[in-house]
Symmetry: C3
Subunit: 399 residues, 3 copies
């Protein structure tokens, strides 16, 4: 146990100096959180990983429910959420909208309370429609505040954003933790160049949450953040404005380039990934609202045609050769469109993907711990003494 | 802990005086249970709520399964069941009939045993077809008795009715607990007037379980129970006969009226809710058995037309003004058809619903605790010493 | 506790003498396992049953995930897996391929790792397509080995075969345990005649996993194993060759007969069950690969016609009368096609099935314990001291 204590001691000390503002709040958008919340979540996730590795039980709840609402397909985030909840002792119960009847307005307020009587966390994924996901999460969060204020709920459950139309914080904080560990510390990120680049995919309409989340997060730590995409594939101007301000505040930089090769030059990390522009997303949301199927078909065809003009936005040996020492870290939230594996032409060549395959797994495996750290910070007033209790009680996870 | 003990002491004393007949039995129909079982369940649910509020772990099982079988859509009851099971330490596993192949007869007997080898509770919802739900639950219960007698099952799991064609006891006991707390005690219900009233809804074929369960339950506690509905919307005569007998035995009364305004006059509590008459339900069950789709279409149209003739059976400001001091408690099992919210015309006006919204949430939040109390009474020979153990071992639910 | 200790002591002593090769391995095919793994799993399952009966908590994990992947319908195996995992303290999370997008090749490797970051066990059912199920399980297992070697996974989860195209070890080990208990010990099986017989069913394409698993397992214990089927309903020659070799090694025998009556003569146990021949399975797999729907329709019709020629392969009073003392043990993995119950003509007569109904339940109820034993042997280096700890810590399963 001493060896473990040694390993986590500095981290615990660091944690003690942080001012958290998450208790009884939600984790919806990283850009609404202060630096202590962000970095604290990372450090706590690392501590949990160390304790888990040493077979220390992280059971913080004897009983309790974690409810999830998935409005889009998901294997990995679902499992990551399940793993995080189970790790802390919560039972994961999924609310299936096919089997129920969740709608907006009054009904959201009601359902939010009904699923929360004995819940600690509500995890929501709603990334399909621009303008909807984040709004829905805020609606749920408001209803929970209302139910708690009205004496209905014993405590206010935390809403965790498992991907919305704007941001994907459980993913981007995992990405950040991966960068931190790869480069040897959060301070070492200062001056490092990271490229969030659009890349060609044969599919259409991938959410903006990852690219938006990445530029708005990495710009806070003094990194040189480059956003690269063909003309017309813009992210939401609100979010890029935030990235620019964060960069200015943190002593980093934020630039938008329209040339993948130029962007890759001297990069320390690259994140090539497809998305649809926010303007397309807005038009699509409008058509969906009107139920205009012809319009939706038209826009899909139009977008696929436009995508096809940018097949050269592809991460391969030649592009990676342009990066710092030809060895920038390749990043992806997975699953990637790998050329010759799951598509004819896609975001990345098989060669590059294979070289970095285990790195992308490392990036991904932080996610359950990031989610668990968020839950702890949202549910426990004193996370330090919780952690302290974990290794003091010497309870083994597996006998 | 002493403060808590003070709060629950009287309730524990009361509980000790009760004679429970639930151990190793099922909870299918409230009218088959004795008063001690009913009132004891309420008191136990209140004790559990107090303990939960004080962060006392209610884990009664280290491991164990609770299996549910939902033959109708459900978000709330599903979550309430999950919450109740998790609260006691049971893992909830749902048996999905789409993914399996459960049928009647021999197969029910077999499946009942197969899902029960390590189960403590089987929760069933089967409310779609009149004449089927309760029969199916009894079939499962008999199979479990058979399996236990044959030495197949280690113990006999309890079957809990999560809504059948006849009754919905987890709902109506929550309703009763709500009444008890609202009026300040079960004894205070004596002489209070409660109106279970039909109300207009644009949908068709809502089950009889709630209105039947309400009149057959509330009539046991000396209340003046009024059942109100347009001509032709009768409940099952068996059930109304039970209500009449209970009322006579308890010193209350039971009347059927066909005028909503007259019914609401001087009411202390009103429960306006749509249902289909038992005669329609019987015809529908017959048509379903024969697979007569034309007949089913005809009956639906006929019923919707009939419903439309009773749009004035609507709970609004003017009706509530007729109740005692114009302030009767509005009750509903949720979700309600609220005019201008989820329907153009429905059971209740927005104004009334909004005024009582938090009350309906309070009514609903008893359900997980009612279910947990039922499980405890069915699974533990000595519930008092179980509760005693809960606060003696001082185990916190959340660290 | 002493009484319990007495009951399990001999079994524990026996267990100590076994050399297990399962730790950090998988349980895919029984014929790849050594005798100690097989018999040890049985003994451990019996010990777990004794402890469970005495209300001893078998919680080996404070937290941890068990992930299942069902590529075919299943109620019983699903529940058995859930029960086994819950018994040991693992939360069961099912990965639904409809809601995700699991494919072969690179993607299997990736998904296998993504679902395993905090998992102890991966249970897979994939029995629909000949040539695929076992291959898929090996692919997953290889990916997990790869992920562990690459430092991605904290430990290597065990893959448990919950039925593949070739074998169904959780079923056949339950069958073997049933035989062991019925005849009074594994040694008592020596010289006993067991008949794995094809039987008529109105359905088509039942997997080969059970008959193959049964002949390849029972032949290891000195039994006289008879495989009986009409001409053309052959099992895979690889598997029958294994059965023959096992029989030779164990001092038993293995014969194939094409006459049900002859096969039943002097049998001690009979296992009449429908299947499709491996040649049909191979052709079908080929047609499926080519998406040849006409071909698939043709083969189905052809097979049903062929089946119909063998309606006399039916287990009834007259056939059972041929067995040793007219009272061979009737076995089935359930659900059986029972004549006059769930089909007009089927594997077994109602009379026979009813006589042995409780025996088939006994056979089935071993399964959760067999699965739990497999998990323990795959996840714990020292299963003896785990069991020792279970009864030493005196933790009750239910309070």
């Amino acid at each position: 146990m001493y060896a473990l204590l040694d390993r986590i001691e500095t981290k615990l000390e660091d944690l003690k100096r942080r001012n958290f503002a998450l208790f009884r709040r939600d984790f919806l958008l990283s850009w609404d959180k202060n630096d202590d919340d962000i970095v604290g979540t990372l450090i706590l996730a690392e501590i949990l990983q160390e304790l888990y590795r040493d077979n220390v039980s992280l059971r913080a709840f004897e009983t309790g429910l974690a409810v999830s609402l998935f409005r889009d397909k998901s294997t990995r985030t679902r499992l990551a959420f399940s793993s995080a909840c189970d790790m802390l002792g919560l039972a994961h119960q999924e609310v299936d909208e096919q089997k129920s009847q969740i709608a907006h307005g009054e009904t959201t307020r009601e359902t939010a309370n009904m699923i929360s009587f004995l819940s600690e966390v509500i995890g929501i994924r709603d990334d399909m429609f621009f303008g909807r996901g984040h709004a829905f999460m805020r609606e749920v969060a408001a209803a929970l505040g209302d139910g708690f204020a009205g004496g209905i709920l014993n405590h206010r459950p935390a809403v965790i954003n498992l991907q919305c139309d704007l941001d994907h914080p459980t993913q981007t904080l995992s990405d950040l933790l991966h960068l931190k560990r790869f480069f040897g510390g959060i301070e070492r990120l200062r001056g490092k160049r990271i490229v969030m680049s659009w890349a060609y995919s044969p599919s259409y309409g991938k959410p903006l949450s990852v690219p938006q989340g990445v530029v708005a997060l990495m710009s806070r730590f003094g990194m040189d953040v480059v956003l690269a995409h063909p003309q017309g594939y813009d992210l939401s101007p609100d979010v890029t404005a935030k990235a620019a301000r964060f960069a200015a505040d943190s002593g980093g930089s934020f630039r938008v380039l329209h040339d993948m090769r130029e962007a890759f030059r001297d990069a320390d990390a690259v994140y090539p990934k497809s998305w649809a522009s926010y303007r397309v997303m807005e038009r699509r949301a409008e058509l969906l609202k009107r139920g205009d199927l012809t319009g939706l078909g038209d826009i899909e065809r139009e977008c696929l045609d436009e995508n096809a003009r940018h097949r050269d936005w592809h991460c391969d040996e030649e592009k990676i050769a342009l990066t710092r020492n030809g060895s920038a870290l390749y990043m992806h939230c997975l699953p990637a469109d790998v050329q010759g594996v799951n598509c004819e032409a896609g975001e990345v060549s098989r060669q590059i993907f294979d070289r970095y395959r285990l790195e992308t797994y490392r990036e991904a495996r932080h996610k359950p711990f990031i989610i668990a750290a968020m839950i702890i910070l949202c549910c426990f007033r004193d996370p330090i003494s919780l952690i302290d209790g974990f290794y003091r009680r010497k309870r083994q996870r597996a006998l």
